[in-house]
Symmetry: C2
Subunit: 128 residues, 2 copies
DNA sequence: TTGCAATAGAGAAGCCTTTCGCTACAATGC
DNA sequence: GCATTGTAGCGAAAGGCTTCTCTATTGCAA
């Protein structure tokens, strides 16, 4: 059931990953401060979560500096791709397009993004 | 953290939902047989899972027939929308388009689907 | 160097999910 | 009617996630 690094992140883990994506490489303290904006939590809990995530290879750590610096083990886009594939597989049995349409229908996109999407569609058509 | 019916399904729960979407309203036995194709599991476990899911309102049950018949409490598309929003929120902080592009990039779509996507893009552009 | 505050880690408790074993009930065939 | 098979439910065990408390270590400043 696990397949990302070695594990799919849980809810809190994902929250921490997002913080690392936003902030870039960060100390426990920095992650913790952000985490606390959303919800009360203990500093030690953040330490532990990062330790657990290190074990699962969801994050990497630079031991050469003090305080230790953590960073996400994979990029946001890479994670999105993984979760998306997972979702597509689980819900639609592999039909990416169905899901893409749902996402498109959610609306709100810049002109550039719309153009980018059109380009992709053209490419797909050519390939057929 | 829960917000679908009253709960987000876990991995096994989702697997069962998918079976119900594929099969339509089904008895425990029918669900169980399908579930077993993928992995060894006890009949009692399936019964329990469905009971738990009934409690979470992920499935509904027709008590008027024997054996009891279960069906998914929400449609596949409805579920996809919910999970997708969740994913978008969690990974991209609300940018649906970024995710849609990822899904599109996964490729494999029929001419009809591509046309449908183009229509959506046109609509979105008009709205701006 | 000594003391203080911040940082790091270990271990265990609490909760939820998933699984199982046991028991009871319903339906079917003899 | 009675035995056999399939169906339903309960309670608890196993395992994982998340959190805590307590302890050790580090870095800085007086």
């Amino acid at each position: 059931m696990r397949e990302l690094g070695s594990s799919q992140p849980t809810a809190v883990e994902l929250e921490i990953l997002r913080i690392l994506w936003d902030l870039g490489p960060s100390t426990v303290r920095e992650v913790h401060l952000r985490l606390c904006e959303g919800k009360e939590t203990n500093y030690s809990t953040t330490v532990k979560m990062l330790a657990v995530m290190l074990g699962k290879e969801l994050v990497k750590r630079d031991d050469s500096v003090r305080p230790l610096v953590y960073r996400a083990a994979m990029t946001r886009d890479r994670a999105a791709k993984t979760f998306l594939s997972d979702l597509i597989e689980k819900i639609y049995d592999g039909s990416a397009m169905t899901l893409a349409l749902q996402a498109l229908a959610k609306g709100k996109a810049s002109k550039e993004e719309i153009e980018e999407a059109r380009r992709l569609l053209d490419e797909m058509e050519d390939k057929q």
